[in-house]
């Protein structure tokens, strides 16, 4: 079923991961959805919220809320598990007892993480004939896995790609060390955490490391680029776009 979809690309995509946003839009359009990017949205407020700065978090999130709460029931799709988790679960707390609470609740009901949205209709994806001969390791983002409880959905999506072999990672569910501001606050610890993950990825012998969270990918790809890991890194959206090309 094709439908009208609002795509919230997130701030990380606006600064460093524009490609992810473009690829997500491309895949959604390929499926026949009527995609409209959300204009006027900034950030979900998570960096400040998770640092204990609720006031600026609320001010920024309110701007995004105004842009997202557009009076429709259209699903709002995000190519980011972490931002989805913020909107879906933590806005309630952030706006508790405030005038924005009702709107935040409306938005929370509409937001969908991209791979979970795609997993609603795997047959439609399969019908497009995605094909890529690669061995893939999937990194579960912490917020997707333990807050949104999305474990199977991204795997279901990857399973639609012909020729793709999903190889389990021993460290697949362990944090990559990004942690938002953590990665800048404790760069040495954060890097050590990434290295432990990358060592596992390298040892597993995959062609591609895939995740659905731009934050994790920023961290892992950034470190892998610096250390020269032979494994390439893709967002689920980018992998699908390649598979559809």
């Amino acid at each position: 079923m094709t439908r009208r979809v609002r795509l919230f690309t997130t701030c990380l995509a606006d600064v460093v991961a524009r490609r992810t946003a473009d690829d997500a839009e491309h895949v959604l359009r390929a499926l026949g959805h009527d995609v409209e990017r959300v204009h006027g949205a900034t950030c979900c407020g998570q960096p400040a919220f998770n640092s204990g700065f609720d006031e600026p978090a609320r001010a920024v999130a309110a701007a995004t809320l105004r842009a997202l709460d557009d009076g429709t029931d259209d699903p709002i799709v995000l190519p980011s598990g972490s931002c989805t988790s913020m909107l879906r679960l933590h806005w309630r707390e952030l706006f508790h007892g405030r005038p924005e609470a009702e709107g935040a609740a409306r938005v929370a009901r509409r937001v969908r993480e991209l791979s979970a949205f795609l997993a609603d209709d795997p047959a439609a994806l399969r019908a497009l004939g995605p094909r890529l001969d690669v061995r893939v390791g999937y990194h579960d983002s912490c917020h997707m896995l333990r807050e949104l409880r999305l474990r199977e959905e991204p795997r279901t999506v990857l399973a639609q790609v012909e020729g793709l072999e999903l190889v389990p990672l021993a460290s697949g569910e362990r944090c990559c060390g990004f942690g938002g501001t953590f990665s800048g606050r404790y760069p040495e610890v954060s890097t050590a955490m990434a290295d432990s993950k990358i060592a596992d990825v390298d040892a597993t012998g995959v062609d591609l490391l895939v995740s659905a969270d731009p934050g994790c990918l920023l961290q892992l790809e950034g470190r892998m680029s610096r250390t020269g890991s032979p494994v390439r890194v893709r967002h689920v959206a980018s992998l699908l776009r390649e598979a559809l090309a």
């Binding site: 701030c11 606006d14 600064v15 460093v16 524009r18 490609r19 204009h39 006027g40 949205a41 900034t42 950030c43 400040a48 998770n50 640092s51 204990g52 700065f53 609720d54 006031e55 600026p56 978090a57 001010a59 920024v60 309110a62 701007a63 912490c142 917020h143 896995l145 333990r146 807050e147 569910e173 362990r174 944090c175 060390g177 990004f178 942690g179 938002g180 501001t181 953590f182 990665s183 800048g184 606050r185 404790y186 760069p187 040495e188 610890v189 890097t191 050590a192 955490m193 990434a194 432990s196 961290q219 790809e221 950034g222 470190r223 892998m224 680029s225 610096r226 390439r232 890194v233 980018s238």
Partner: protein, 485 residues
């Protein structure tokens, strides 16, 4: 009565430890955590790849054993029930404490009340001085670490011997335990071999069995010659006035059986309403702690040696420690008191795995350490620790009593801001961020500037040099903007 000189009579059994074997005890409470940062403290472990591998292997093994242990049982229901028991016990702590004290005293236990760490030290040292205690054997107690008990006793001229194998190594090295359950997770067999060989004055065989055998002889002598045994306690049972404790080596049992005086130092939050609650909490404590069905030894102590019993201490003392606990009751962080010190959150913590226990700076490491340290020591001292986690949530998922560690950590970060303890630079940065990104126009402008700046620095879509303002981030990582070839 003055302290008696411990008998160094090999005839009594075991082999006396050589004079001066122990390094001066570390005083966890004496260091200010604010003098160093978490990352500075973490560096020591980060620089030791062997230790990091050892910690990773050990913690992985324990988590695997845990999962296997509860497979096929209603694990979640058991945890729900444990959570309820703990929540009920803590919300009704005044009632249960009164009940526990009444019952314990009725059974001949002498109960003492330590409002803070200094008072706990005073009480224990006083008991030892009044009773002419020259040597004390200790079984592992985190509460005694909290109050820096060993150095206080040493200062009073008392010979203190830690009897848990790991804690014995820690004491001999003048080190600190790095894990609630496995104190020398950060030490290698080679280090223990070197240490024990020096103590023995000969080159001992470098295998764990022989090394353990060496420690056993020295510690056996200490058990047989000690005047007092000091232990912690895993649970207080209100209904019966008992103290329950678990060990695997058996040192806890010998500590509380052989010396004529037993002193238990126990935090007031260890309360369980009933004996029957052990059937829920014990399997969780041992299963989450080590993956065992049950620890080798469980002792439930209800007073000194009874009439007609062949052994046991003439006196049993319990020192109840508040030490910042009562201040948490009824508040936002009350659930931190539900902790049963199993160490599972440490085992799954991806940060702990890299940095080890010492980076947390005080007594408790891992997620629960990052919560308890600022709560017990104050925001100004330990507040930074709430940031020493990626909020990945693995701790929430494994906690046997379902403490919402993620929420508590986030709450502590908020409190740090509310109490103005957060650094000025951080406050200014978030204020500026908030001002710029609350309007779509300024947001677009700032992200456009950022993009343009990165584009200038990038080569083939990759920024692999230090970026102004992100120098620490980009010191070890590239910013990949396009597709890396």
């Amino acid at each position: 009565m003055s302290a008696t000189t411990p008998r160094e009579d090999a005839e009594v059994g075991g082999r006396p430890l050589p004079p001066g074997w122990a390094a001066p005890a570390h005083q966890p409470g004496a260091d200010s955590l604010a003098d160093t940062t978490f990352e500075e403290r973490a560096r020591e472990n980060l620089a030791r790849p062997f230790q990091r591998t050892a910690i990773a292997n050990a913690t992985d093994h324990t988590v695997f054993a845990l999962q296997r242990r509860f497979a096929g049982t209603a694990h979640d229901a058991l945890r729900d029930e444990a959570r309820r028991i703990r929540a009920h016990a803590i919300t009704n702590l005044p009632t249960y404490l009164e009940q526990w004290v009444d019952r314990a005293e009725a059974r001949g236990t002498q109960v003492h009340f330590a409002a803070d760490e200094a008072e706990a030290r005073r009480i224990v040292a006083g008991l030892c001085a009044e009773r002419g205690v020259g040597r004390v054997v200790k079984s592992k107690s985190m509460a005694s670490e909290e109050v820096s008990l060993n150095s206080a006793l040493e200062g009073a001229g008392i010979d203190v011997v830690e009897t848990d194998l790991g804690e014995f190594v820690v004491q001999a090295m003048g080190d600190r335990p790095s894990h609630v359950i496995a104190p020398i997770l950060h030490r290698t067999q080679g280090e223990v071999h070197e240490l024990f060989s020096a103590m023995a004055g000969e080159d001992l065989p470098d295998d764990p069995e022989a090394l353990t055998g060496f420690a056993r002889e020295g510690l056996r002598h200490a058990f047989l010659t000690a005047d007092a045994g000091i232990s912690g306690g895993n649970f207080l049972i209100a209904e019966t006035g008992e103290v329950a404790m678990v060990t695997n080596e058996g040192n806890g049992r010998l500590t509380t059986s052989l010396p004529r005086i037993h002193i238990a130092l126990v935090g007031i939050e260890k309360m369980l309403p009933r004996r029957t609650d052990l059937a829920v909490l014990l399997p969780l404590l041992t299963g989450h702690g080590t993956g065992q069905q049950i620890t080798t030894y469980v002792s439930v102590l209800g007073g000194p040696r009874g009439a007609g019993e062949p052994d046991g201490p003439e006196e049993m003392h319990v020192v109840l420690l508040d030490g910042g606990r009562s201040a948490l009751l009824g508040g936002e962080f009350e659930e931190a008191l539900h902790c049963i010190r199993c160490g599972a959150c440490q085992n799954v913590c991806p940060v702990y795995r890299q940095v080890g226990g010492h980076a947390y700076g005080w007594v408790y490491g891992g997620p629960i350490g990052a919560v308890l340290t600022p709560l017990f020591r104050g925001q100004a001292d330990g507040g930074e620790l709430s940031h020493a986690t990626t909020l990945c949530g693995a701790c929430d998922d494994i906690c046997p009593v379902r403490i919402p560690l993620h929420d508590l950590l986030l709450g502590l970060r908020r409190r740090r801001v509310a109490e103005d303890v957060a650094p000025l630079s951080e406050r200014l940065a978030f204020r500026a961020w908030g001002l710029a990104w609350r309007h779509p126009a300024t947001y677009r402008a700032s992200t456009a500037v950022a993009r343009a700046g990165l584009a200038v620095l990038a080569r083939d879509g990759v920024v692999s040099r230090r970026v102004p303002g992100l120098a620490r981030w980009t010191a070890t990582r590239d910013l990949v903007l396009g597709r890396r070839r």
